[in-house]
Symmetry: C2
Subunit: 366 residues, 2 copies
């Protein structure tokens, strides 16, 4: 169980650590510098005990010797101060607002939001905290859940509210907030056999309409494309705390394979917190290249970008299993991709009456 | 009050009308044809009584004399049959599924989803029904609401559920379903002075966190970029049935102006149902070009696409008022655009403490 007990005080202490470190450098007459793990595919390694991919030992250094490095260190201090203020006042801010806030930082002003986003991630790596602990949140909405699971959310006014994600919500389900850590969300109980994480809204709504949650004792979760951190964290917590197996149901193309790998193994951008976000036991149930052949699905030809992405996956350590190698090579060979909604070729019930029972049966889940 | 009382029987009758029309053509030995209004900027006119922009008198004809027209008529018949089956079985389908369903239609198969989407809109125009009456829905999620409004949703199992969009939901709010017609959603009551429709999720969450709904007796609605039809319809219904004024708060760029115009005046693509979707009394409260100057906001330079879009708006009948002309010309002159979150330059409270009170005050709303 990967418990997280990172309190507000821990975050404040860790941020103060950065300032003290820089102060020490200066005090000793040294030029301040900060080292962060290099965030590339070449620098992620499999962490056996945690069962996820995390950063390796390569560090990138930022030294105040150069103007770029000096600016970055200045910005780290400004950002640390801003985060500290938010924590004290129980406020939060979007990453976009954070970028605009820097307008008032003179030389510390960011030149793009990519820069401020990256720095927020660097601060996570250095402090061991998560962006959510900093009260920084992305633009994107969290995703939706429909199923017999009861949670308790502490809302913005501090009021605790029990919500059953099947009985207490409308058909669009329960919206996952950006912060799903324990102080915000408690998972109380679930009466279900597994969680099915679904890439597209169209397929999510199809499973809702077909009553797949009740008929198959499933909790339905909409991944919404490449899932937000809060969505992955919520999946992870349902898996660990409630013992629910997770299966992932996506389109059949290289980008969907990446969605699965970020759910199961962790994303390259967030490998420093894979242990909190990834669900290593998650299983992929399609659409696979084999499905395209076996179910004779409507397809599109692979684009050059698709082919490149598939080839890049062949060298990605997260896809090195026999299973993935075969599926990726088959997709390149047939030169076709398909969408989960293509199953509608056989009617609106085919996915819940035939496809999912067959695929879930093959992995012993139904 | 633009009441809609289009029952299942009305839809079935209207669809049958199309079939009968084609049958009559054939019966008389004529080549069947179908006429639909031309859907371009040049063919929308202002409907004084309804207060919205609707299609003019130009028709585009599809005749079975040519292969293209014949295919389109065949597809119309297939689609009508599919919709009829969904109505009988109380099912629904996404536009994407609808496209894949056509795999089984032999010569009627669509070559792209654009084609099937357009046909669904054509059928709306011909029958006077709405896509929602056909049980066809888009991929995109509806948006979210936070505020003191109570609705009653009839869920997929036919159970009616009262939901207060402030007290009965989590911080992510109430998710608007794709169908918000009366058989699905009833608006029971609201204790608020106005609705503020907000373009970005970041700003929506800002107003939620700052408690703008309670402090200013506002209902907060997230437009989510160019708003879905269900979002516009929900706004319209709050405006008409509960008498709530609507203000629109977006980024300051030509695309955001279009978002406003589709909320207030109707979108070109859906001008045949503007009277159900548009809220003519909606007011724009920014970000304007004047705001960029007056509030000295962080900006980006206009791109070539931005400039083109602004120039195109100068010839758009929906933007012909003095107010819009001045703002569009000023934006072209200063050659700058800005985002609503740029207000964070002055801190996280500036938007709710200063900007919105000033802008709402200027139109007598606060």
């Amino acid at each position: 169980m990967t418990e997280r007990n990172f309190t507000k005080e821990d975050v404040e202490k860790a941020l103060r650590g950065i300032v003290e470190d820089i102060y020490d450098h200066l005090d000793k007459g040294n030029i301040p510098k900060m080292g962060v793990p290099t965030r590339t595919k070449q620098n992620i390694t499999f962490h056996k005990r945690k069962g996820v991919w995390t950063y390796g030992k390569n560090l990138t250094w930022r030294s105040a010797k150069k103007m770029d490095g000096a600016s970055m260190i200045l910005r780290s201090l400004y950002m640390g101060e801003f985060i500290n203020t938010m924590l004290e006042q129980s406020r939060s801010s979007t990453l976009r607002e954070m970028y605009y806030i820097s307008e008032g930082w003179d030389l510390g002003k960011f030149s793009s939001q990519d820069e401020s986003n990256r720095l927020a991630e660097d601060l996570e790596i250095i402090t061991g905290a998560m962006r959510e602990d900093f009260h920084l949140r992305p633009e994107e909405d969290g995703s939706r859940i429909v199923g017999n699971i009861t949670i308790e959310e502490t809302n913005r006014k501090g009021v605790k509210k029990k919500i059953n994600c099947r009985d207490d919500v409308g058909d669009s389900g329960y919206g996952i907030p950006y912060n799903v850590e324990k102080e915000k969300i408690r998972l109380l109980e679930a009466d279900a056999d597994f969680v099915i994480a679904i890439e597209t809204g169209g397929m999510f709504d199809r499973l809702v309409e077909n009553g797949f949650d009740e008929r198959s004792r499933a909790i339905l979760l909409h991944l919404k494309g490449q899932p937000a951190r809060s969505t992955r964290r919520f999946l992870k917590r349902m898996n660990e705390e409630l013992g629910l197996p997770v299966v992932v149901f996506t389109d059949g193309d290289p980008w969907s394979f990446r969605i699965f790998s970020s759910v199961a193994y962790g994303a390259i951008k967030t490998a420093h917190i894979s242990e909190y976000l990834a669900t290593p036991t998650a299983e992929y149930i399609g659409i696979t290249a084999s499905d395209i052949v076996n179910y004779d699905l409507p397809t599109d030809k692979l684009t050059d970008q698709d082919k490149q992405a598939l080839k890049s996956e062949l060298t990605d350590p997260r896809f090195k299993s026999r299973y993935w190698r075969d599926e990726i090579e088959l997709m390149l060979k047939i030169n076709k991709k398909s969408e989960q909604q293509a199953l509608a070729k056989y009617g609106l019930d085919y996915v819940t009456d035939t496809y999912l029972p067959e695929k879930l049966g093959a992995i012993g889940m139904m």
